[in-house]
């Protein structure tokens, strides 16, 4: 038996160990399909997220721009103010502003 190289493996072992089949040809097609599907899913998710953000923003803006009423009492007070304004400014005594307007117009 000759000098044994401590870093060398038996030829029979290394022959079988290094005997690895080639990369399967269909692998790239599968990979490409997987990548494209992931990209499509990600785009859809982004579109859904963007739509949600737009909807939430629009709702928030609409909600915030509406007059805020803190309580029922405040709402009732507001309504009575509006009522009294209508009574004193819009309607005439006979409840017909148009007639009242016409009459005053002709009188003038």
């Amino acid at each position: 038996m000759g000098i044994h190289n401590e870093d060398q493996l038996p030829a029979g072992f290394i022959g079988d160990f290094a005997d690895i089949p080639d990369v399967p040809g269909h692998l790239y097609g599968r990979l490409r399909h997987g990548i494209d599907r992931r990209v499509a899913v990600r785009r859809t998710l982004w579109a859904v997220a963007a739509s949600l953000i737009i909807m939430v923003t629009a709702f928030s803006v609409a909600h915030l721009s509406r007059p805020q009423i803190a309580s029922v009492a405040e709402a009732e007070e507001e309504l009575s103010t509006v009522d009294s304004y209508i009574n004193s400014n819009v309607y005439t005594e006979d409840d017909n502003s148009y007639v009242y307007y016409e009459e005053t117009l002709y009188q003038e």
Binding site: I20, R30, L31, I35, R38
Partner: protein
């Protein structure tokens, strides 16, 4: 090892399909060999590992700084992908009936020709050891490259591989 040109890498970073295919064609034979051996010769599992590796590459190639070679970066990814897949397999195997394992062992003991010996020795080795052995003996990677991939010290890997080879020499009868 040889690396693909920088221009192709830059184009692949910008998700150029042709450049990405070139990167795949250039590196996949090496990645496949690593995956095939680390996954204990299971071609289906190795194919999955290669696919997972290149999906990760596609998603994060823009983060590749170029400090190390692209091959080192790719080997690190495939190494981690394989270890994760094997950990998952191990969890699933616990659920399998015991008879299957016994049948495999019996058939190996009955006919121990060269190929069976190699298979039996490889079956007794950890995934990390198979990875190191493939990297060193099949792909001719340096200890420094192996250290960069595994995150271990080059000296430690040298000692580990030396012990591993000694064990193989003891167990393999030509």
């Amino acid at each position: 090892m040889n690396e693909i040109d920088r221009l192709t890498i830059e184009q692949a970073k910008k998700k150029d399909r042709i450049a990405f295919k070139r990167v795949y064609d250039f590196y996949s034979p090496f990645i496949w060999k690593i995956a095939y051996r680390t996954m204990h010769g299971d071609a289906e599992a190795a194919g999955e590992a290669v696919q997972d590796t290149f999906i990760r590459v596609h998603e994060s190639l823009h983060k590749f700084s170029g400090e190390s070679g692209l091959s080192t970066w790719l080997y690190r990814i495939v190494f981690n992908v394989c270890l994760t897949a094997l950990a998952k397999q191990k969890r699933t195997r616990i659920m399998q009936p015991l008879d299957e394992n016994i049948a495999v062992k019996t058939s190996l003991a009955e006919s121990l020709d060269s190929k069976d010996q190699v298979r039996a020795i490889l079956a007794s080795m950890s995934a990390e050891d198979q990875f190191l052995l493939t990297g060193r003996e099949v792909l001719d990677l340096s200890y420094e490259e192996l250290a960069a991939i595994t995150g271990d010290n080059a000296g430690t890997l040298r000692t580990r591989l030396s012990r591993l080879k000694e064990q193989i020499r003891k167990n393999f009868k030509e």
